[in-house]
Symmetry: C2
Subunit: 207 residues, 2 copies
C-alpha cells in the first residue's frame, strides 16, 4: 500500500468533500461524482479508495458514511492530537480564531510567543506560554505537531526548540526552508512562493 504525500492529500480531500455531502444527507456517491468535485479522474478516485481497502458496489457506488469511516481508519490517529502554535502575530491569531472545531481529531492546545505582553493569556480558549516553556509543555502534553507563524528571522530557532521537544511534524508559514532532521515532516506554506506560482500559471496558461 502506497502512502505517498500526494495520495494522502487527495484522500484527506475526499473526506472533506464527503463530510459535506454527509451533512447534506447524501447516502451514496459514484467515483466520477467524487472525482468531479475534487478535479481528479474517476480512475484516480477508484485507485485511491482501492488502496485504502474500501469497496463500493457497481450499482450504488460508495456509501458516504462507510467511506468516511474507512478514510478515518486509514488516516486518523487513534486519539485526539494536540497541536502547538508558535507566534501570536497577525497570522497566528487568525489561525487560532479559525481552526479549532474544524477537524475532528486535531486541536490547537498550546500557544507560544516571546513577547511578554502576549503570554499568559487565553485566546479562543487556548492558553499562551512563553517560548522558553515550550519544551516542557509539549512534552507534558505529548504534542507531536506544531505550526510556526513567527518572522523568518526567528523560524529556525523556533524549529530547533520544537525538534528538541520531540515534535515530528511542522507546518511552517515563514518564508524560509527549515533545517531539521530527515525524520521530521515539514510542510512549507510560504505565501510569496505560492502567489508567484499562481501568477506564473495565470499568465503562462494563457499565452
Amino acid at each position: 500500500m502506497n502512502r505517498s504525500e500526494i495520495k494522502i492529500e487527495r484522500i484527506i480531500t475526499y473526506r472533506r468533500i464527503l463530510l459535506k455531502l454527509y451533512n447534506d444527507g447524501e447516502k451514496n456517491i459514484f467515483s466520477y461524482q467524487l472525482a468531479n468535485k475534487c478535479q481528479v479522474s474517476s480512475a484516480q478516485v477508484r485507485r485511491d479508495l482501492m488502496d485504502i481497502g474500501y469497496s463500493g458496489s457497481p450499482a450504488n457506488g460508495y456509501e458516504v458514511q462507510c467511506l468516511i469511516k474507512s478514510i478515518a481508519e486509514f488516516i486518523d490517529p487513534d486519539k485526539k492530537q494536540g497541536i502547538a502554535l508558535v507566534g501570536l502575530g497577525n497570522l497566528g491569531r487568525a489561525i487560532i480564531d479559525y481552526f479549532n472545531g474544524q477537524s475532528l481529531k486535531l486541536e490547537i492546545v498550546a500557544l507560544f510567543d516571546k513577547n511578554p505582553n502576549k503570554i499568559n493569556r487565553v485566546i479562543a480558549g487556548c492558553h499562551s506560554y512563553h517560548i522558553n516553556d515550550l519544551k516542557e509543555i509539549i512534552i507534558k502534553n505529548n504534542i507531536k505537531t506544531a505550526v510556526i507563524s513567527v518572522p523568518s528571522t526567528d523560524a529556525q530557532q523556533v524549529a530547533d526548540v520544537l525538534v528538541d521537544g520531540g515534535i515530528k511534524g511542522i507546518l511552517n508559514y515563514a518564508p524560509i526552508i527549515l533545517n531539521v532532521p530527515d525524520s521530521i515532516y515539514v510542510q512549507n506554506r510560504d505565501m510569496i512562493t505560492t502567489l508567484e506560482k499562481v501568477s506564473y500559471f495565470a499568465n503562462y496558461n494563457n499565452k
Copy 2:
C-alpha cells in the same frame, strides 16, 4: 522544456534562496549547496537549471546574480502584476499587512469585501471596494490573479465573479474546492487539509 507545476515551484524556491544568498554577499554556489538548502538532490537542481537554459561552470558552479536573472526571465511576467484580494477578515488583513514589498513583480492593488464598514478604506496603502465593483475594477486594472479569503459559504460566488471579470489564477484559502473553468489555475490552501496531512506524517513516519 517542461513546465510542470512541481518544477516551477522548485525554481521559484531556488530564487527565494538565491535572493537571500545574494543579500548576504554570496557570489557563487554549487548545485549541491543549493540542493541542500531546499532539500532536493543536486541532480535535480542541475536538471532544473538546465531546463531554464542557464549554464554554470564546473569550477565555480553558478553565479548567484546571473542565475537570479535567468530565473526571472523564465518565471516573471514582463510587467508588474496587480493582485486582488477578496475578504477583509482576520486572514485577509494578515495577508495585506504582510505581503506587499515581498515580491518584486507582484503587488496587491485592490481589496474587496461585502461589509459596508470595510469598504472605501485604505489598508496598508491599498484601497478597499465593494464586491459589486469587482468586475469593473479588475478589468480596468488588468488584474489576472486573485486571493480568496472569504468564508467557504461565499467562496464559490466570489470565484464566479472573479472568473467573469477575467481572472486567470486564484489562490483560495477557503476550505472548499471551487468550480471554475479548466483554463483557470486554482491553488487551494485549505489549512485543515494541510494540518491533517502534517499530523498524519508526524505520526506515520514514526510508527
